[in-house]
């Protein structure tokens, strides 16, 4: 059975729905992530699960139990807030122990110590939040949310207030902590790297709709629609045509692979070319002209023009330094054929 079932939920403020007939499910022990640009409704989903927004229509079930009538403070769900929302008047220990009401003093002390140990802040229990760095505050917030042993943890843009370096390190750490505790979690972010690094399942949200709920690998290589293809990773849609039951042709040749059922031979399609599908090969008879170059350290991202003028992106190892206007040989390595009908 699924731990969390988010079932056909619609939330509106005014005329336009912020969350539109959305459904997904999270298995026990899984880390899920809602990914989308700001204003797509992802935070509203989180607040509905936490109970801060009254549910307007649909159903949310936790371990089979409907949550709609359960007030926020009685839900066995922990939350880590974007601004951490630590209590400035309490020490780190008191913050972590805040949710442990009704626990015996000794158990409470033990639980707080255990969590501070888990997040690597065993020595900081008597400090106050303002004496900690941003990353440490973030870990206190996580420890506080974990302390009452909730069934599910919600994380709202948990790393957005941190430096880029720290963000990567901490997202790995948080994932390790959650996995070690066997904790299920849902994360909300606008950062693909964070989503891919943290989550087992990622949902791409756009204008209140869930476009695809899938593993990061499948989101990248098998996007469900143009919107997901456009949002996840980089790429260019190149016009082509279905040439057979499992093949299509476009400017760079004919390729075979799995095609969506609704496409038939002769249909006009757009083919998705990722930068890593386009390989630099001096021996290739195909050439393209460098239009723009973007040095990324380990790789170059080249914007190339095919003979027809069609632009494609290519990811090339960084020692292949080509000038703008130069013609370079390219070859396609299409392991996943992705095409959308027009």
């Amino acid at each position: 059975m699924m731990l969390l079932e988010f079932d056909n939920v619609t939330q509106s403020y005014g005329a336009a729905p912020v969350v539109d007939a959305m459904s997904f499910a999270l298995a026990d022990g899984e880390i899920g992530c809602l990914l989308g640009s700001s204003g797509c409704g992802k935070t509203t989903v989180l607040r509905c699960i936490a109970g801060f927004e009254p549910l307007q229509s649909g159903d949310i079930r936790l371990a089979g139990q409907a949550l709609a009538k359960v007030p926020a403070h009685q839900r066995p769900i922990g939350m880590v807030f974007q601004d951490y929302a630590l209590f400035p008047h309490l020490t780190v220990s008191a913050n972590v122990g805040f949710g442990l009401k009704g626990w015996a003093r000794r158990e409470r002390t033990a639980r707080v110590a255990e969590l501070l140990e888990l997040v690597g802040l065993a020595d900081s229990g008597s400090k106050y939040p303002h004496e900690l760095s941003g990353g440490q505050q973030q870990r206190v917030a996580l420890a506080r949310a974990l302390a009452p042993k909730p069934r599910l943890i919600l994380l709202d843009e948990p790393f957005s207030n941190l430096d880029v370096d720290l963000r990567e390190r901490l997202s790995r750490e948080v994932r390790d902590i959650l996995k070690r505790e066997g904790m299920s979690a849902i994360l909300v972010t606008h950062d693909q790297h964070e989503a891919f690094a943290m989550a087992d399942k990622v949902g791409v949200m756009q204008q209140g709709r869930l476009r695809q709920w899938d593993t990061p690998y499948r989101l990248y290589h098998q996007p469900a629609d143009r919107a997901v293809a456009d949002f996840i990773g980089q790429g260019v849609l190149v016009p082509g045509m279905v040439s057979g039951p499992a093949s299509l042709s476009f400017e760079l040749g004919e390729f075979s692979g799995q095609l969506p059922d609704e496409l038939a031979a002769g249909d006009a399609v757009d083919v998705l070319l990722r930068p890593d599908d386009v390989v630099h090969d001096d021996a290739s008879p195909l050439t393209a002209t460098v239009l723009a170059r973007d040095f990324r350290g380990t790789v170059f991202h080249y914007t190339l023009a095919l003979p027809s003028g069609q632009k494609v992106l290519a990811q090339v190892p960084s020692h292949h330094d080509h000038a703008i206007g130069e013609a370079i040989g390219i070859r396609l390595e299409l392991d996943h054929l992705i095409a959308f009908g027009r």
């Binding site: 403070h73 769900i77 922990g78 939350m79 630590l86 209590f87 805040f98 949310a145 009452p148």
Partner: protein, 531 residues
């Protein structure tokens, strides 16, 4: 439709202010022809003329003192600037009526200033008479200029230097920069300070009573307590409320403008160093204001208090102090609790913000008006209670003449003071902190007790302190609604000054000044920590 619970709370609180106000306003729609012809013939022309003189004179005076002082202290460096920076707020510690009778003592024909002039120069006849329209205006200007000074100084301090630099880069001298850049930019703040000073002028009762300078507040008091005509008092109060509303609208507009004008947090900027004559002129000007607005009046009070200390400092006096403290403490706690409820209601229900603005309107309404406005409905309620239930023989009043009337009037008048302190602290508790606490299992009262109260403790303390001191100094409400036996220091001062016994009034006045210093210290501390 069922209103949300917390909006009901906010609405109930707003009634404390709105019932008296609406009742007073409603009385204007039921004019009594006979009463009005009497008022028009004998009282109104003088009241209106006096009020116009006061508003015009005090308005001009507080601008002429407050704005230049603020500019000097904010932008220039001169000897004593750091002290003047906070010391120029000190006159706020003197209730205007205390300022009034000590200035009368100082500047009267027999007072120390004129005596000294006669002794040294042989002539003091050129000193203008203090018992005059000009004298009242001068006293109120000295008492109320700090409102303009405070707001203008904060505006200049945050934008003054930068405005000057912009002006200088465009070829303006500092003085031209003041006129063409800084002054127009600071206008919303200056207007805010000015309207506060004018509201205090309209509300003033003690000063004009001491000067026998009849305004609406003294006329309301006399109509009630000398002519025993509550209807006349209500009609006069309704006119005064109309004047007040004009000021409230102006003040709210200046607040709105302030929200749009970027004051920003400027980095600490180097001040322009004044040198030579101009430095001493600046110091001299500030020192002179401080001398006349604080040092001399306090010295005069101290001298008088010392001269009568042996006879006046007795068990009686201790009794007055005790009652004042006790009453102020009760009122401060009540007002702060109501303010906390109102602020929390705004938190729980966003639409209560407008209700809160109505509920806190009382800061602009003179105490005399609120005293009448609270008394009248209580009297009606009393009559209804007396008629509806069986009471012991001879019962004449149930609620009338109890502490309740006075506490309601205080709450209406000072809710804004308590509310602004509590609400400022409430705003520092973020929505996500509340949600975090709910997420961790707290709700309702537990949430308030575990999260809000600890975080609000500083704001609650400030609220109690500010209201406490305001109630200690409050004169007309206390005078008009006090239960038998609840004479406070302010009442004692009124009784002595209406007999001209200034020496005897000095000791209670000095006690009030000492209490009044507390919020000034808090205020200057807050400014320091904010900057």
């Amino acid at each position: 439709m069922v209103l949300p619970r917390w909006r009901m709370v906010a609405l109930s609180i707003s009634l404390i202010t709105l019932i008296p106000l609406l009742l007073i306003l409603a009385s204007i729609t039921r004019p009594d022809a006979e009463l009005w012809s009497h008022l028009l013939e004998f009282q109104l022309p003088e009241l209106l003329a006096n009020t116009a003189w006061l508003l015009g004179g005090v308005g001009l005076g507080v601008l002429l003192l407050g704005v230049p002082l603020a500019w000097l202290v904010a932008v220039y460096e001169f000897p004593g600037r750091r002290i003047f920076n906070w010391a120029l707020m000190l006159p706020l510690a003197l209730p205007a009526y205390v300022m009034a009778f000590s200035q009368l003592g100082l500047f009267d024909f027999t007072g120390p200033i004129q005596s000294w002039l006669r002794d040294t120069t042989g002539d003091s006849s050129w000193v203008p008479a203090i018992r005059s329209t000009g004298g009242v205006i001068a006293v109120l200007v000295l008492a109320f200029y700090p409102y303009v000074y405070l707001l203008a100084r904060n505006a200049f301090a945050t934008m003054g230097r930068r405005a000057l630099e912009v002006g200088q880069s465009l070829g303006l001298s500092p003085l031209a920069g003041f006129w063409h850049v800084a002054l127009p930019m600071a206008r919303p703040w200056i207007a805010g300070g000015l309207t506060l000073a004018l509201m205090e002028t309209l509300a003033d009762f003690g000063t004009v009573a001491i000067f026998n300078f009849d305004t609406f507040t003294t006329a309301i008091y006399k109509a009630w307590f000398a002519l025993f005509s509550l209807p006349t008092a209500m009609q006069l109060a309704s006119l005064l409320v109309l004047l007040v509303f004009v000021l409230v609208v102006l003040e709210q507009r200046s607040r709105g403008r302030r929200a749009y004008t970027q004051a920003g947090k400027a980095a600490p900027q180097p001040r322009l160093r004044l040198s030579g004559v101009s430095a001493w002129v600046a110091s001299g000007f500030a020192a002179l204001v401080l001398l006349f607005a604080f040092a001399l009046p306090v010295a005069q009070l101290g001298w008088w208090a010392w001269s009568v200390f042996d006879t006046e400092f007795d068990a009686d006096f201790i009794g007055y102090v005790g009652r004042s403290l006790w009453l102020a403490l009760i009122a401060a706690v009540v007002v702060t609790l109501v303010a906390l409820l109102l602020s929390y209601a705004q938190r729980r229900d966003a639409k209560s913000a407008l209700i809160a603005r109505l509920a806190t309107l009382g800061y602009a309404v003179p105490g005399t008006v609120l005293a009448v406005g609270v008394f009248v409905p209580i009297a009606w309620l009393d009559n209804w209670l007396l008629a509806s239930f069986a009471w012991p023989e001879g019962t004449g009043a149930i609620l009338k003449g109890t502490l309740l009337v006075m506490l309601l009037a205080y709450t209406a008048r000072f809710l804004a003071v308590g509310h602004s302190a509590v609400d400022a602290a409430m705003h520092r508790i973020t929505r996500s902190q509340e949600e975090a606490a709910r997420n961790l299992g707290y709700s309702g009262f537990g949430l308030l007790a575990r999260l809000h109260l600890p975080l609000l403790s500083g704001g609650l303390f400030t609220a109690v302190l500010m209201v406490f001191v305001d109630v200690m100094k409050e004169m007309p409400i206390t005078l008009m609604t006090r239960p038998f036996g609840w004479d406070t220091l302010a009442v004692r001062i009124f009784n002595f000054t209406s007999e001209g016994e200034w020496e005897r009034a000095a000791l209670p006045a000095l006690a009030l000044v000492i209490a009044g210093l507390l919020p000034v210290i808090v205020l200057s501390r807050q400014k320091e920590s904010a900057s």
